[in-house]
Symmetry: C2
Subunit: 199 residues, 2 copies
């Protein structure tokens, strides 16, 4: 990034750019995504897009960086107060209808598959994952402290949930398998019932 | 395929072509894989490669089709007789050292991410998955019949194991995360102990 845009675009512009990126990924997939296809979805000028993000890679890293905020915001605004309700709400969101956004999920798996080749993608995915794992582990820890959950290892529980969610998303996309989410939801519920809950 | 090669290459040639495909995928990844890069790894003539497989896509479908045979052969030749031992051996193989073959696993995730775009890939992945699910479910069913396992739904158990294995593989590749396999192995063992085994 050039010096002038180090702090990033103002929030409203940033949101419009992220929305345009989402639409362009849905429409073109990752392989055919360019700054031009993103600009086509952006209401403002193409030069404004280039002013804020030098390359497609810069933009996609910023885009991936918004995922976690959206998930955390959604959990915070869900009607969930106890650790058990908050954990359920988080699992719901992790497994929420990828079929409903399957073009986007398809593009996202392509993007994830590029992490071994593009270090900036990997770093952002790793950062997201560490935060998400910490977010879930904090919920589990609260539940352990409150006596709602058994004396489990919160990080280990978070990792198991994330492995299941990752597997379900990948299978849904690769196999076009509607059942993967339901199977996984049942597996996560069984895991939480038998390994996490105190009762 | 042309009429002359409908039955496919003889076993030894087929094995050499599949070995060459594996090496080319490791070396070049999926995006840069061509019939030429595969031919470079093939001891025999390039024309023989083209004689047996018209396109890279044909060849990769055949390549993916060999995965399951290898897994089943490995389980059959493992020192595992009881359903419990056979289930353990299968999980071991599903989760075996992807880090040791990480270039190949990286290429394989790229290939899987193309399933929504290339129907022939999706069909082969779906076929593999159905066979693998059936293979695992049969082991579980044998265990239920023998009284080693509780009265579980064999297909549901197989799906849960496959979701966990898929998630672990994807996370290992995307995050370069050595721990994903260990975490998953512990989660699968916990799942089998508490949900599958009769004792």
């Amino acid at each position: 990034m050039s010096e002038s845009n180090e702090s990033g675009p103002p929030p409203e512009t940033r949101q419009q750019i992220m929305d345009a990126t989402y639409e362009a990924l849905r429409e073109h997939g990752y392989a055919d995504l360019t700054m031009e296809t993103i600009a086509d979805e952006f209401e403002k000028s193409q030069s404004l897009l280039h002013y804020h993000y030098d390359t497609k890679q810069d933009l996609l890293v910023a885009f991936v960086g918004t995922f976690l905020d959206r998930l955390v915001d959604a959990v915070e605004s869900a009607d969930a107060d106890t650790p058990r309700e908050r954990l359920d709400a988080t699992v719901d969101l992790l497994l929420s209808d990828p079929e409903a956004h399957s073009d986007f999920q398809t593009a996202l798996l392509e993007l994830r598959s590029q992490a071994p080749y593009v270090e900036a993608y990997r770093e952002q995915f790793v950062e997201n994952d560490a935060h998400l794992r910490g977010f879930i582990a904090d919920i589990v820890r609260d539940g352990v402290d409150a006596g709602d959950f058994a004396d489990v290892d919160p990080t280990r529980v978070a990792e198991t949930i994330l492995v299941l969610a990752e597997g379900a998303r990948t299978r849904t996309i690769v196999f076009d398998d509607d059942d993967a989410i339901d199977t996984t939801r049942a597996a996560v519920d069984g895991f939480i019932r038998s390994h996490v809950r105190a009762d």
